[in-house]
Each structure stands twice: as C-alpha cells, then as structure tokens.
C-alpha cells in the first residue's frame, strides 16, 4: 500500500514524513517523532491520555490518522514548557498534586490548555465539563481541578 507524504508542524517545527494511511496520529507522534509524552491509553477514544492540540483545539490522537494532520499544526505536551521553564499549568499541577501515577497527565494538561484558552476564568463546573473526555484513575480529579483553577489565576496575573 502506498505511503502518503505529509507535512505537519509539531510544536513549532515543520515535520515532513511519508506515512501509511493507517498510521494513527498518536503513533506518528510517539513512534516516528519519538514524542512519547503523548500516551496511548484505551486507544478507543475514551480515556483522553492521547489528547493533543490540532490547530489549537484539543483532539484525541488515537482517533485521528496522521494523514488527517497534513497541513495542520499539532501541539503535544512537549510543546508546553519553554526549555527548562515549566508552563504555569505544569507548575500548578506540581504544586497542587494534580497527578499521582502521571499517565493521564499529558492528556489532562492539553485538555486544560484548551479550557483556559476558551475560558480564562472558568468555574469549577466548567473545568469539570472541559475534562469530560479525560479519565484519571488515581486522583478522583480533586487535585486536577484545583491545579487548573490555580493555573487560571496564575495565567490571568501574568
């Protein structure tokens, strides 16, 4: 079967590749670009661990083909920090216990970025609705919600 040439801007860097049509965006990021921050969880579109931003909107990369990202911009969790400086959202997760095992965290961070982009001063209910596509099996979400509320305050102040 043919391989399809694609060009995707990933975390600000133009990436050219030839991929089989069936290559998932999640697998392209992890196995071709070695950006293993994005996690494969349920691989059925339920858990949200594979969430990334596509042109600024949060999507599940296990429900997308790499070819669908051709000509678009992808941001993964690796694109949040500036060098050694964590993004304020990442700092907030560390300060407020926003994770335990950490497996859902990359997806949670990307979903949270999307929430704060659309609603810079969210209510707790808005945060929870914005996380409805992401599962955490450790924390019960309390720490995650607190982290995002704290990050919202921090990001509004800066």
């Amino acid at each position: 079967m043919s391989r399809i040439p694609i060009e995707v801007i990933v975390n600000g860097v133009a990436q050219r590749a030839e991929v089989p049509a069936r290559r998932l965006l999640a697998d392209f990021l992890r196995d071709d670009l070695f950006l293993t921050g994005t996690k494969r969880g349920c691989e059925t579109g339920v858990c949200g661990a594979c969430s990334v931003l596509l042109d600024g909107e949060v999507v599940k990369s296990c429900l997308s083909l790499a070819v669908q990202a051709d000509g678009h911009e992808v941001t993964t969790v690796e694109g949040l920090a500036a060098g050694e400086d964590l993004h304020p959202l990442q700092e907030a997760f560390a300060e407020h216990g926003g994770f335990q095992c950490g497996y859902c965290t990359p997806g949670m961070l990307m979903a949270a970025i999307a929430i704060l982009h659309e609603t810079p001063s969210p209510t707790e209910a808005e945060v929870r609705a914005g996380l409805s596509g992401n599962l955490c099996r450790c924390t019960g979400y309390v720490g995650i919600v607190e982290s995002i509320m704290a990050a919202a305050e921090k990001m509004r102040g800066t």
Binding site: G45, L63, A111
Partner: protein, 292 residues
C-alpha cells in the same frame, strides 16, 4: 487496522466517481472519530479511504430569515455549538452540539459524519428531526434532498446511494420559540445517551400553541410522538398535564431492549424525562409544581 489506501478528491463529483468505482471497498472519511473505531475493530475493512478534507463547499454555516439555516456537512460539533447564528436562531441545536460526547470528539467529529454513521445512540438525529432538517445528498449525477427522518433507515443504515455524499444540512426558519434537548445517561461518565428527547414549543400566552416532540437513542431511528404533541396543543402546562403527556410519550414508543437497558427501564426513564422536559419548557403554575 488493516492497511488501506488514502485518496483525496477535491470535488463532490470526483469523490462520487471514486465511490462508484470502489464499491464496497471505498469508505468516506470526514472527522474519523467513529470510523477509526470501526476500522480498528475490523467492523469495516475498506481497501480505500476517500477523504473529504480537500473537497470544497462542505464547510460553513449560513442563515437567511426566509430560507433558514444551511450547515456544511463537514461542520464540527464544536463549530455548530459556537456559531452565532445557530445560537441566536436555533439555540436548542447549539446547546445539543455543545454537550455532545466530549470536547475532543466535538472538535474532531462532524455533523455529516455523525448522520452518515447512523448510530442510533447519538443526539444530533433526534434534535434535527424535531427541527425538520433536510439533508442534501450530492453525487456526480446531481443533488437530491431528503428529510432526516427518511435518510435514517435502520441501525447504521441510511438512504445514501453508494455514490452519494451528504453535503449539507438545511433547516427551515425556526417556528418554535422554546426548545430543549434532554439526554439520559446511565452513568455520569458515559457519553452515549440511553434515551434522548427533543421538545419544541410555540407559546401563546400561558398555553402551548404548538408542540414538537421527538424521542431518540432508545429507538432505532428518531420517533416523533404526534399524540403527545396533539395533547399539549392548546393546553396550559400544569403538573397534571405534564404527567399525562409523559404517559402518552412512554406508551407511544417501543423502546429497544438490550444490555445497556431493558425496554421496561427505558420506558420508565423516558416517562420521567418527558415530564421534566415539559415542565422545564413551560414551568407549571406554582401550586402542585414538582421541582426536578
């Protein structure tokens, strides 16, 4: 997922010709959220995916007071939910789209893809049936249009011909001033509705001048309950009226019965949903009002 070829036509006619040529081997891909699951579970195993991403004219939302609303088939659920004209003139549709599935699926999934997949357990068909939506089907042979209720035929089955593509959704100008789309989920974490119900009404003072009530997700295709609409017309909503109308709805529908919910359970939940929807739309007088 089996290996597959990927084609990117640029017009509806080109895409239609490819579908005609490929037959069973060809599958359209729009957002891909439903198709990718079906591919990976090998429920479908096409030789070619025909992408609509480069086909022009399938996006955008326009409104005209005389012609109503036109929605491109590739409009995502989140674009529908955010659209200023949809929010202004069809708030029930914007509200439904804004609560569909989860944020990621709303950003990826398209209204056209949702309709063509024809999964009974989803919200848009019920809401669109209540709003008298017509679907425009294009092919190399030309266009035709069908009411959404004729487009949806059975479980995962539509009236699309093999070479046809759903290009747009059209709604007549709104004639109801109140509306609500209700969903019942078995658990808070689940996104597939067990039952949904769209209720629209035109008000005349304290009474319902005209009502529209469609039940879905618990029937194979959306089911309009004309008996409940007729019962509500001309009546002021009281707790007793809402209860009686809800009984009519529950008795009129033959619910599915499966592992997700027995027919008896679904019928009971439908009765509760119908009563709450009617009371929510036109709150009855304070005496005897049951607060949900």
């Amino acid at each position: 997922m089996r290996d597959v070829d990927y084609l990117r036509p640029e017009t509806v006619a080109e895409a239609s010709a490819l579908l005609a040529e490929l037959g069973e081997g060809g599958r359209l891909i729009a957002g891909g959220t439903a198709l990718l699951l079906a591919l990976r579970q090998r429920m479908v195993a096409p030789t070619h995916l025909v992408s609509l991403a480069r086909v022009g004219g399938l996006r955008g939302i326009t409104y005209d007071p005389r012609d109503g609303l036109r929605i491109g088939a590739l409009t995502t659920h989140s674009a529908l939910a955010r659209s200023a004209v949809v929010r202004a003139h069809y708030p029930v549709l914007a509200d439904m789209a804004g609560r569909l599935a989860d944020p990621q699926v709303r950003n990826q999934g398209t209204l056209g893809g949702n309709l063509c997949y024809a999964d009974p357990t989803t919200d848009p068909p019920t809401c669109l049936a209540a709003l008298d939506a017509r679907l425009v089907l294009g092919s190399a042979r030309g266009d035709r249009s069908l009411p959404v209720t004729e487009f949806l035929v059975d479980y995962f089955t539509t009236a699309l011909h093999p070479d046809e593509i759903l290009t747009g959704i059209r709604l007549p100008p709104p004639r109801f001033d109140l509306g609500h789309h209700a969903r019942f989920h078995r658990t808070a974490a689940e996104h597939r509705p067990l039952i949904n119900l769209t209720l629209l009404a035109r008000r005349d003072g304290d009474t319902v001048a005209e009502a529209r009530l469609v039940v879905g997700a618990t029937t194979v295709v959306p089911t309009r309950v004309a008996a409940a609409e007729a019962f509500l017309a001309g009546r002021a909503v009281t707790a007793a009226v809402a209860r009686e109308a809800a009984d009519i709805v529950a008795d009129a529908v033959e619910p599915l019965s499966d592992l997700r919910g027995t027919a008896a359970f679904r019928r009971d939940m439908l009765r509760v949903m119908a009563r709450r929807s009617i009371e929510r739309l036109m709150p009855p007088g304070m005496e005897g009002r049951e607060v949900a």
